[in-house]
């Protein structure tokens, strides 16, 4: 082998080394951060308030570590607004060489909102986010409502509900069932928040009373409070 061919062999070897290192680093460094939180109930109304409870927040995860956090509560009662029991929140996340992600679950049982306007035997919010060589994505598989009743309309059994189902609550406001709030670009990052029951309380502000019909003309609806049951969030980003 002469000196010239040795030169090419060395170049090829160096190129192979660089390509290998880059590929290896890309695979290992696929995700840099994961996040998650979950809570069963949140009440902020003129009738009363209660902070996000029980709240589980994923601790910081680095390297190839993982973490888990959970919280539980036996019962919650905000008079006239919300009562429920068997409250559980769990979140976990991990960063690995091949994939990284987070998953969160929140649940509440015997749910009674606004003196029976909305009831459910059980609410489960379940989300996961994952990032790997095939991209980043999130889903809410496993999120269901059990024997739900909204303003007299029932949904029997343990069922998923179409994302962002909006139901009007005349004189009260509206409720969004399976409210989904996505984030990320779906390539290097992804996140999802699911609020299984999100009640928006509204009041009409302004407007003029028509003395002939008794109806109010004009005015604007203003949100005066909210109630959330079953909230779970997960996210992953590189």
């Amino acid at each position: 082998m002469n000196g010239k061919s040795m030169h090419w062999v060395n170049r090829l070897a160096a190129l192979g080394l660089v390509v290998g290192l880059v590929a290896g680093l890309a695979a290992v460094g696929s995700a840099q951060s994961v996040g998650g939180q979950a809570y069963s109930t949140y009440v902020n109304t003129p009738l009363g308030s209660s902070a996000q409870s029980p709240l589980a927040v994923l601790p910081a995860v680095s390297g190839t570590d993982g973490a888990e956090a959970d919280a539980e509560g036996s019962a919650l009662n905000v008079a006239g607004a919300l009562s429920s029991d068997f409250l559980n929140s769990i979140t976990s996340g991990e960063i690995g060489a091949a994939e990284a992600g987070a998953q969160s679950t929140a649940s509440a049982a015997s749910v009674n909102i606004l003196n029976g306007l909305i009831t459910a035997d059980e609410v489960v919010a379940n989300v996961m986010s994952s990032a790997g060589q095939t991209g980043a994505f999130s889903n809410a598989d496993g999120s269901t409502l059990t024997n739900l009743t909204v303003a007299g309309q029932s949904l029997s059994g343990d069922q998923p509900v179409a994302p962002n189902t909006n139901v009007s609550l005349p004189g009260v406001g509206y409720v969004v069932l399976n409210e989904q709030i996505p984030s990320g670009d779906g390539v290097s990052s992804s996140g999802l928040t699911v609020n299984m029951i999100h009640v928006y309380l509204q009041n009409l502000v302004g407007g003029i009373l028509n003395p002939l019909t008794g109806q109010i003309i004009g005015g604007t609806l203003q949100t005066t409070g909210e109630i959330i049951v079953g909230s779970a969030t997960s996210s992953v980003a590189s």
């Binding site: 973490a67 539980e72 889903n139 496993g142």
Partner: protein, 235 residues
Amino acid sequence: MMREHRSLIVWPSLIAAGLLAASCTDQPKVSMAPNRPNFWLTPPPAVCTGGKWTGGGRIDPAYPDPTAGSNYDGADEDLAHEEEYFAYKLPNMTGKVTFGFNIFLAVNSETPSRCYVQKGEIEVNHHPAKTSWHVSIHDGTDAQGNTVYASVFADASGRGYCLVVGIPDNYMWARVNGNKGYELTQFEVCDNDRGQPQNSRHDAMRWRAAGDVSHDPGDTHLIYLTGGNIVEHGS
């Protein structure tokens, strides 16, 4: 000459008698089959290489028999791929179960073939009975001060690996419904979609609880996740 002739008759007779006696004794049969590795019929000896496992989500074991449900994972365990064992005779545990966990494995210096849990948290909620269990493991021991052993094995389906936490003899102690007391439990998960899209629903989970304190004894059997994820993410 006569003496030599006698010995020629006596020795073959003795050998024949010995062979006859040997053939009549109850000795183990000798296989004439070709030699095969020891793990041909039994799983290879467990070797702990450490590892970190994290995940969570939900399973829905079918009523009344989880093994008859369409979400039953009957592919990952067989006689050669089932490391776990629970001494208690348990009824089926059915209905909604949510969970989350984080487990760090380490090698036991006294018995290198066995993994133990260096640190970990496991939360499991059985919704129909409103039972919650929590396992905390710090510095290699659970809340009762016992070492928690674990096992990792390649599953029978060939899709990935399973982890069993709380293998005999110690199992592991779980706190029941806040502070109602402790009972023996066992936890199993399978990561079957590493490096692949995570919505394949091939990951699975199994929970077993003795029920002494919770009065909710049961075995969910190995069930595919309805939602969530199981990830083995490092060593």
